[in-house]
């Protein structure tokens, strides 16, 4: 939505007024908190915190909203239990009041179109997280940081307190420490107890300093969804949480079935579909290459003996294609001769299932491989810092998209981004801050690009974006909007020191006949011109 200068001006005035009143509001909260539990002051504290939680982000203080909400949740918990704050809670509340003070000093710049929608997640979409951790300082820090990513955290100091807590439907994930004063494995033991009593539906992520097998085994037995080592990498934790509580269901697994016997192939397809797996059938083995490119299967289920070629030969061909070196190939055949089975495996197959096969066996054999393939592929294809595709994977996707555009006669664009004067950022603020800038750009790209767009980190401070079905003008408009948004994101070097970063961008459009390499070179040249022209701008390739 566009903003007329008048409205922008009015909103700015309101923000300034709000900022002016904040010290008084904060002083009132501090006073109320200091008064302790006399004369309903706790109710007042809850009310004041509620007010800040509901207003802060509107006026440019998302961090204030997040911290105030934690405080409100904390006080609310005590009030609902009909008691005053205990010593631990009192300590946490004091820290939160302190955090409020800090947050009032750090507004984010008001930007007409929200720059990082993640920071002001509508509260209906907030997810409730339980954190069970005896280190209250750490718990508070995690709670505050997760607040920035749209999670509401309720903390418990001991597993017992979690056991006593009434069930809450909106609980999305439990974060559980392992070692407590109550025992070296008190965390996992409590989870086992809760699961046995059917009192826990939410997935559990364990956080611990322990890295020994006994601890890991205990968490596995407790059904851990993930295990993160302390000190906690908030980025990694948010990644796990996003994965566990995402609103849209994960992309279904894709299985390509290659079998010249149509009805049998359909039967297997139907079986797999019943388990939520998406399938495609190729009855002509010679057409497998087109199926691979269009369908991008996570697994190929293949008959051994087909007209034209054998399954083993086909597997050998698939393995020659760089993009499909990892894709599991499972043979499904009546072949029961072990040495022939082994030959097929040597040529590139991963597993051998003997026909006829019970539907549940087929589903389970295929599902196990699918899960492991996705994890493996993520490790191979992703850049560990930003979670984006790495250089090789981005180039592969570009080639695939161009091949698809050629076939379908559609458009696509490739944009190459490079952070401006990034060396200076690293030299001035250090590499940790530099990494944070990279992550903030990756986060912005992930959240603001469309679902079909493909983003990769293709160099130290270089990013590549593939925009399918997009013409140059549309791509330029989109990238310029992102450029503008990113240039307004405040980067923090420390509490007092902040700065902004920018990027330059070159865009090339795919036109019939050009190769992925041509596009790459064109985008790179356009990027160079953008740098020459003074940086912080988007340039189209001269095509």
């Amino acid at each position: 939505m566009s903003t007329t200068p008048d409205i922008a001006q009015q909103l700015r005035v309101l923000r300034e007024n709000y900022a002016r009143q904040l010290p008084d509001k904060l002083a009132l909260i501090e006073q109320t908190f200091r008064n302790g539990d006399v004369d309903g002051e706790l109710q007042n504290l809850r009310f004041l915190a509620h007010g800040l939680a509901g207003s802060g982000a509107t006026f440019g203080y998302p961090g204030l909203s997040a911290a105030a909400r934690q405080l409100e949740t904390l006080v609310d918990g005590a009030l609902c239990a009909g008691r005053v704050l205990n010593t631990e809670e009192n300590h946490t509340a004091a820290k939160l009041v302190e955090a409020l003070g800090h947050e009032t000093r750090t507004p984010v710049e008001w930007i007409p179109t929200p720059a990082l929608p993640a920071r002001v997640t509508p509260d209906a979409a907030r997810k409730l997280i339980y954190l069970v951790e005896d280190d209250t300082e750490l718990a508070l820090d995690v709670a505050l940081q997760l607040g920035h990513f749209g999670y509401t955290v309720r903390t418990f100091e001991t597993p017992e307190k979690l056991l006593e807590a009434p069930a809450d439907d909106s609980l999305a994930v439990v974060l559980m420490d392992i070692v407590f004063p109550q025992g070296e494995l008190a965390g996992p033991e409590a989870i086992v107890k809760m699961s046995a009593a059917k009192r826990l539906q939410a997935p559990v992520i364990f956080l611990s300093v322990r890295n020994d097998l006994a601890a890991r085994l205990a968490t596995t037995r407790a059904g851990a969804a993930a295990y993160l080592m302390k000190p906690i990498d908030i980025g990694a934790l948010v990644g796990e949480l996003d994965e566990l509580v995402r609103d849209h269901p994960p992309e279904p697994y894709r299985v390509l079935i290659v079998d010249d016997n149509g009805p049998l192939a359909e039967h297997h397809a139907f079986t797999l579909q019943s388990a939520g797996i998406s399938t495609e059938v190729a009855t002509d083995p010679m057409a497998i290459l087109a199926h691979l490119d269009d369908f991008k299967p996570d697994l190929v289920l293949m008959d051994m003996y087909m007209p034209g070629c054998t399954g083993a030969e086909l597997a050998a061909v698939v393995r020659q294609l760089k993009n499909y070196v990892l894709v599991p190939i499972v043979f499904l055949s009546t072949e029961s001769n072990t040495s022939r089975q082994l030959t097929a495996m040597r040529l590139g197959g991963d597993d051998f299932l003997t026909k006829p096969i019970a539907p549940e066996h087929l589903i389970s054999a295929v599902s196990i491989r699918l899960r492991r393939y996705r994890v493996l592929r993520a490790h191979v294809e992703r850049d560990s810092l930003t979670g984006l595709l790495n250089h090789a994977a981005t180039k592969d996707r570009l080639a695939t998209e161009i091949a698809r555009s050629t076939r379908q006669g559609s458009f696509c664009c490739f944009a190459e981004l490079d952070l401006d004067l990034f060396k200076q950022v690293n030299d001035t603020y250090g590499h940790l801050i530099g990494d944070r800038v990279l992550k903030s750009l990756a986060e912005l790209l992930k959240r603001r690009l469309r679902r079909g767009d493909i983003v990769g980190r293709i160099g130290g401070e270089e990013f590549g974006i593939i925009l399918p079905n997009t013409k140059a003008a549309g791509a330029a408009a989109l990238l310029d909007e992102l450029r503008d948004a990113f240039s307004q994101v405040r980067q923090y070097a420390s509490i007092e020191r902040e700065f902004t970063a920018t990027f330059s961008c070159g865009i090339a459009e795919y036109r019939g006949g050009s190769s992925s390499n041509d596009i790459y070179v064109l985008a790179d040249k356009a990027l160079y011109r953008a740098k020459q022209a003074g940086r912080n701008r988007v340039m189209l390739a001269e095509q």
Partner: protein, 134 residues
């Protein structure tokens, strides 16, 4: 029901800052005709003569809170059917269900974005009309 467009909004909120920003969001950005009340009691006094298309009600207010204002409004014949939308900073799914049970057509989360609030309300209004249609 005829498809009438959303024009007149009665807004009940005790916090002056939020009032001010909502005024811009609804009047300047949204182009609505707005009447702002500081409390539930004020709303009860003003509502019959203002005759709003929709009432926007803060949940947590000192004195008469959102839900009690809603039930008091329902006692007034002219307002027994006017759609009410709650605004609250504490939106858990269970609470949304609870507010709907009380008769709210929807719940808007605070803090809100002043640039999109009116769009949100138009969406709620459209859904309300669609559901009211036989």
């Amino acid at each position: 029901m005829a498809d009438k467009s959303l024009q007149r909004i009665l807004y009940v909120e005790d916090e002056p800052d939020i009032q001010a920003v909502a005024r811009i969001a609804l009047e300047a950005v949204g182009g609505f005709e707005l009447h702002v009340c500081n409390s539930g009691q004020e709303a009860l006094d003003a509502a019959p003569s203002f005759d709003p298309d929709l009432i926007l009600l803060d949940v947590m207010m000192p004195g008469m809170d959102g839900p009690s204002t809603l039930s008091a409004l329902r006692e007034l014949p002219a307002l027994s059917k006017t759609p009410v939308v709650f605004m609250t900073a504490k939106v858990q799914n269970a609470e949304v269900a609870h507010y709907r049970q009380l008769g709210a057509v929807d719940v808007i989360a605070k803090p809100f974005d002043p640039m999109t609030l009116s769009t949100t309300l138009h969406g709620i209004w459209k859904t309300y009309l669609d559901e009211a249609r036989p």
